[in-house]
Amino acid sequence: MKPPFSVIFLTTFIGIGQGLFLALYTGQLYSLFDLLPIQDSRTFYALGSALAMAFLVAGLIASFFHLGHPERAWRSAAMWRTSWLSREVIVLPAFMGIVFLYGVAHWFNWHTPIVELAGGRQVDITLILGAIGTILSFTLFICTGMIYGCLRFMQEWHTPLTPINFTLFGGASGFLLASVFSTIVAPHLVGFFAGWAIIITMLALIGRSASLWRNARIKPKSSLSTAIGIKHPHIVQISQGSMGGSFNTRAFSHGKSVNLIRAIKPAFIIMTFVLPIILLAVGLSSPQLLITAFIIQYTGLLAERWFFFAEANHPQNLYYQKVA
């Protein structure tokens, strides 16, 4: 596939936004059970929500560049019964709405208890909004991943690892951003978020390694023989039907050299996983190192997402091998 940059930015940006929100809410839950000190509602949760919101909005804006008719984008909520893309279109704004309300509730200190749990723990509106947001965040990860995972003949994508990896990548980058954010507003939480960032980044490394391992061993179900229905082991295309290119020759191949593909794979593994884990481990006291880790990981994620598209081999390419 030709990697569409609008989608690469969409999925990486909203992943960070979702992960950051999950990190904030994890922090809030820990402090509910007295495992972490309670943070200031405004400077930590409200500002953190605003930061998450910024990434979500950036992702949403990026997604519009993918559309031929962005002015009709509202129509895409229609087919949620069948289309994962439509479901994403519904869940993303819903999640953004909850993140916004979560931030607003924290900003205005709406901490009036609504429910009291056993042990005298007070549940306020922010906790409830956060719980809804958590569900929506995971739903959004699943929707985003399933957009690719549901295409059964895209064999590289058609695996549960696709939504799992989207979740882990978002979580890793979000918790990493949370640790960067907390160096500024809540320095004693850096270790907590960085620890989780290391754990999730390691899980993401396992998930992505598993999918790379799997994808390297895929036997394509389709062949030229099934594509044109002629039972013969030696079939070559002479002409794709026109002498210039077509949409089909442009949109389904990355058009880059084998060497670049070979170089990108180790590059994104080092940048997304190895370097951030090292920098997180040594950089707990240094905001600069954490920011560097975040930038390196985000660049790595862009490369990872680029590779995710480039490695997928669409069966339609069987019909479009020779521009002649």
Partner: protein, 243 residues
């Protein structure tokens, strides 16, 4: 239930591209707007087509066969492109099984083209919507055209009658009979898309002639040893006179 479809005979197609040009001519002139081209007379021409004729070489030299392979939307009975469409712009008509795109609803996200294993959908770079074969839905139900012309443009144009058009759900239709009797097959059956369009295989046309079909072994005249005169090996009247 009706399922309109094409049957394309690979044994007959000569790869002349008449179906391609005829398709483009009809569909670029219709009310749905042009199928836009870019740089059509330049060095790098590109454009939107509903139908393309591809060419494949089967076998290794010197035992090769050239196969011309017309490909358009197959109007699958389980179209994978339809459920993924977020707006409902892609739909399959209940009444005749044609898969269509509503150009006024399409947002141009190209997700349906990712979901089609056949590469049957093409994005129109000028109109910014996804396009595909309509089975000439504006011809086949037209009341202004003569009855004989109410067929897809490609079928009308084919000089070798390699393309048949009809209802594959009607077991007695010409297409169903042809599929049944000539080993018609569907493309990429492994994905369960159940394409409505079918193809007929390449087949060798050979004639088995036995010796006794040329010369009757049980000819009673021959048994008598009298006729025919002169014997088969000798020149006959046909060889020496023009009657």
């Amino acid at each position: 239930m009706t399922q309109l479809a094409l049957v394309i005979d690979l044994n007959v197609c000569v790869g002349c591209h008449a179906c391609v040009t005829s398709c483009k001519e009809w569909n670029t002139s219709g009310p749905a707007g042009p199928m836009s081209d870019s740089d059509p007379y330049g060095a790098n021409p590109s454009g939107t087509f509903f139908n393309r004729v591809q060419t494949f070489e089967v076998g290794t030299f010197p035992n090769t066969a050239t196969v011309h392979f017309p490909k358009s939307c197959l109007h699958c009975e389980e179209p994978p492109c339809v459920p993924v469409c977020p707006t409902g712009a892609s739909y399959k008509r209940k009444e005749d099984g044609i898969v269509l795109v509503d150009y006024d609803k399409c947002i141009g996200c190209q997700y349906c083209s990712w979901a089609c294993p056949y590469g049957a959908r093409e994005f129109d770079e000028k109109q910014k919507v996804m396009k595909k074969c309509t089975l000439c839905v504006d011809r086949i139900y037209s009341t202004s055209l003569p009855e004989a012309d109410r067929r897809p443009s490609c079928v009308m144009a084919c000089p070798t009658s390699a393309r048949l058009f009809g209802d594959v759900h009607d077991p007695e239709s010409i297409v169903s009979r042809t599929i049944r009797e000539n080993a018609g097959f569907a493309l990429m059956p492994e994905w369960g898309t159940q394409p409505a369009n079918h193809y007929l295989p390449r087949r060798k046309t050979t004639m088995m002639i036995h010796e006794d079909e040329l010369m009757r072994a049980d000819n009673p005249l021959k048994i008598d040893g009298k006729l025919p005169k002169p014997s088969k090996q000798q020149p006959t009247l046909d060889d020496s006179t023009s009657w």
